[in-house]
Each structure stands twice: as structure tokens, then as C-alpha cells.
Amino acid sequence: MTDLNINVDTLIENICTQLQQQNTLKQSPKMIGIRTGGEWVAQVLHKKLALPDPLGVIDISFYRDDFSKIGLNPTTKPSDIAWDITDQHIILVDDVLFTGRTVRAALNEIFDYGRPASVTLVVLVDRKGCRELPFQADIIGMSLECNKTIKVTGPDPLNVTILETKEKQA
């Protein structure tokens, strides 16, 4: 019946530990957050990992595949990546991985900036089981069945709440 608050600090710790176990951090990676929730998560990670280059932010509104159905997102802001993407190792951060369509749009946008050496996908929450496109995250804070609905609020404090049921949300 009640919504469940998730301890975000634990999820962030989780992600940092996994990143440290991988090769990624040794390749002086640069980080990009996907607006809005992904940007919040990326801000926390970027600070915690003390990455030297400024955090990049992309707004995927102009790359969505449902423009001809739902039109433009009225709160679109410019993407802001202050460095050259070409040949860089990119850590791409989003708050929630669900259908995979946001990741598709984000990758398309990144490739319009240049050809990265690699992209590592990091998500705070993976809602499993409802994927519509073949994308999986490399590093996951926590997993959840996709019939559970979650709400991410931020940037400060960054909170993740599991809402009771999907139907309830609708």
C-alpha cells in the first residue's frame, strides 16, 4: 500500500564500486548525463569520482522517435558538451532504463557530436522486462521488475521512490 523510498547513497556507492572494478576509470573517461533525471545522477557520480573534465549534459528531446505522435517537449533545453567526443571513453548516465528508447536517442545524439572510443551505460535503476529495444546497461544501481513504477526527484536531495503499483500510477 505505501510507497517505498530507496536509499540512493547505497545505489551510488554500488555504481562507484562497479566502475572501479572495471577498466573504464583507467581510461580517463568523460561523463554525460541525460536530462533531467540522468543529469542529477551524473552530477553526484561526477563529483564522487572527481572526474577532471566538466560534466556533459544532453537533452534528447530533438532525437525522440515519437515527435510525429506527441510533438515537442516544451521544456527542451540545449545540450551542453564542452569537449570533443571523438575518441573519448564516455560514461553515459541515466536515472532509469525502461524501454531503451531514451538510450537509442542519446546514442544517436552522441554520434552526431563525434565518434566516441567507447560508451559505458550506467543507470541508477533498471526496470527489467519491458524493453522494446536491445539495450542493456553495463552498470546498474538496482534492478526492478518493470510492473513496478518509480519516481525520481532531485537534484538535491536525489530521491527514488517505488510507487505501489503501475495501475495506481496510471
Binding site: Y63, S68, K69, I70, G71, L72, P74, P78, D112
Partner: protein
């Protein structure tokens, strides 16, 4: 006569959103703010770069220029390309209408080539409106300048430039100097500034280059240049439209410069941080001196760059509104069907 050429509503759809973009007349503040905000989202805040995006992929846009244009035509083409649309530009002066085809036949033929949007410039006031009245319901018309009537995208790029440099237009005093009578740009600028509730709009120029009843536009009239630009935040110079003058309205260009040309000394009368704008093409030594046109307060070339983003914003808003309208209609149909089924079951 010109003021009534467009019925205010033909450019809005059933949801009150832009379907065509013909004039600023009859639009609300929120329509203009949406354009200005969307424009911002196309410009990189650090580099002023305008990136290509896949928003209008698969859409077909035709640029019909019945009148010569460099800036407007080129920036429209660049804007369309940066939105990934398929574009065709037709120089109608050298085309079918010369062979006796009527305007509407030309239009319908182009529509049969599956155009989604027409961008039209024409020497006749009301031409864009005329096209908008005759295109199919799914086709959109953008006015790229019609006679002495309107040039709404130019006015919006001017508003964007002002907002970018000076913040909220609400607080500003703006002087428009030059050939007000013949300028569609000025008409649209005055409409935009009024809708955005500029603190004071001044129009400066000789009596012969003013419309008959300028006060009706809600502006302050000055025939003296020094008085007109004293203390303003923004000076917009417009060129003498010699091609539209049917009689000698000014003694000479030299004389005009002496009375109304923007010189460094005159610019010093405006606020120290005032910006100088000009929709182009500029006539150096006629309405503006080179030192000012190329000076540190001039934002003339920035206007050109922002023209790309503003046109991208208008085109994507119109296509977005069309998408939302068809979604809305589909939902209505579904709802009616659901109601009918419920009634049958009851």
C-alpha cells in the same frame, strides 16, 4: 487596408496553436514566448553553435521566393537542413508562372509533390494568407515577407536578439528608425514589441516615410533623430526601401543620412549599453555609418545567426502542433467510440 489583410485566426488550429505563421497580428504573448524559448534550445550556450537535429526527417519543405532575398532565403534553407527536412527552393521568377500558369495552379502542383510546408516570399501584401487559404489542411504556410504587410520570422529573430542582450523586453525603450512606411519588418516588429509589452516603442523618421496614422500603432512618433533615440536601450535601423517607393519621398540619400543616419555621435545619446540592430541589407552611409555598423554595440551579424535558430523553432513548433492535433483528434475518436460501446452495452 494592409492591417486587415490577415484574419487573426486562420493561422491557429482548433487548439489555438500555430498552424501557419503569417503575421504576429492576433497572436498572444504565449505564442511568442514559446518561439523565443524554443529558439534558445537550438543554440549551444557556450559556442552559439546551432547543431543539426533529426526533428523534421521525412518532412518536405518548399521555399517559394517570388521576390529576391539573400538572408531570409538562405537562413530558411539552413534552418530546414539543420532540422533534417527535405527541401526544395524554387525561384519562381524564372519558372512556371512566367509561362502563364496561375499562382494557385503552381501551388497545387507543388502540393501534389507532397510538400508538408511552404515558405513564401511575395511582393504582394497578403500573398502568404492567400496561399494559406488554399492549401490542403495538412499543409503549413510560413510567411517569409509579403509586400509591405508582414515579415514575422524577422521580427521574432529581432525579439530573440533583444532578449538575449537585454533580458525582458517589458523593461525596455526601443527606437525604430528609418523608412517605416514601406517596411513589413517594422510592422511586424511593432506588433511583436506590443505583444511582449515593451515599455516604450518609438518610431523615428521623416513625415513622408510614416504611415498615415502612426499613432494607431501604439507608438511614439519622432521626426527628430536626436530626440528619438535619447535614452533608449535598443536602436533598430531599417533601410530605405527604394524599390517600393513610387515617388520621391526623400530629397536625397545624402540628405537622409544627414538627418537620420546613425553616427557615433548620435549613438552616444542612447543608453551607454544600447545595442544597434538592422535587419539588413545595410546601406552604409545612407542610414548607418560604418563605424557604428561594425562597432562594439552592433549586433547586426548576430541577428543573422539567430535567424537560423528562430526559423528552426517556428518550423518545429508548427510540425509539433500538427502532431499534437492529430493525436488529440485520434483520442476524441477513440473516446466517442468508447462512449458508443458503453451506451450499447447499457
Amino acid at each position: 487596408m494592409i492591417a486587415r489583410l490577415s484574419s487573426p485566426n486562420i493561422q491557429l488550429n482548433e487548439l489555438g496553436k500555430l498552424h501557419h505563421f503569417l503575421t504576429l497580428e492576433g497572436l498572444k504573448q504565449h505564442h511568442l514566448i514559446e518561439i523565443l524559448d524554443t529558439t534558445k534550445s537550438f543554440i549551444n550556450p557556450n559556442t552559439n553553435e546551432i547543431k543539426k537535429v533529426p526533428l523534421l526527417r521525412g518532412k518536405s519543405i518548399m521555399n517559394l521566393f517570388f521576390e529576391p532575398s539573400t538572408r531570409t532565403r538562405t537562413t530558411f534553407e539552413i534552418a530546414e537542413k539543420r532540422l533534417s527536412a527535405d527541401i526544395s527552393s524554387l525561384d519562381i521568377q524564372t519558372s512556371a508562372t512566367k509561362k502563364g500558369e496561375s499562382l494557385l495552379d503552381t501551388l497545387w502542383n507543388l502540393q501534389a509533390m507532397q510538400a508538408d510546408m511552404f515558405v513564401i516570399r511575395h511582393a504582394q501584401s497578403g500573398a502568404a494568407q492567400f496561399f494559406a487559404q488554399h492549401v490542403a489542411p495538412h499543409v503549413h504556410v510560413l510567411n517569409a515577407g509579403d509586400g509591405q504587410h508582414a515579415h514575422p520570422t524577422q521580427a521574432m529573430l529581432d525579439m530573440f536578439t533583444i532578449r538575449k542582450h537585454k533580458g525582458d523586453i517589458f523593461d525596455l525603450k526601443i527606437a525604430i528608425v528609418g523608412d517605416v512606411l514601406h517596411s513589413r519588418v517594422v510592422r511586424s516588429q511593432i506588433q511583436a514589441l506590443s505583444i511582449l509589452e515593451a515599455r516604450e516603442i518609438r518610431v523615428v523618421g521623416p513625415k513622408t516615410l510614416m504611415p498615415e496614422n502612426p499613432e494607431a500603432l501604439g507608438v511614439h512618433i519622432y521626426h527628430d533623430m536626436e530626440e528619438g533615440i535619447a535614452g533608449v536601450d535598443v536602436i533598430i535601423m531599417v533601410r530605405l526601401q527604394n524599390e517600393r517607393m513610387t515617388s520621391a519621398l526623400i530629397p536625397s540619400e545624402k540628405e537622409f543620412f544627414k538627418l537620420y543616419g546613425l553616427t557615433e555621435e548620435r549613438l552616444a545619446l542612447a543608453k551607454p549599453d544600447a545595442i544597434v540592430m538592422h535587419p539588413g541589407p545595410i546601406n552604409r552611409g545612407v542610414e548607418i555609418e560604418s563605424m557604428v555598423a561594425d562597432g562594439s554595440q552592433s549586433v547586426i551579424l548576430e541577428q543573422v545567426t539567430y535567424g537560423i535558430a528562430v526559423r528552426m523553432a517556428v518550423m518545429s513548433i508548427i510540425m509539433s502542433n500538427a502532431a499534437q492535433l492529430s493525436q488529440y483528434k485520434a483520442e476524441q475518436v477513440a473516446q466517442t467510440e468508447q462512449d458508443r460501446l458503453q451506451e450499447e452495452n447499457a
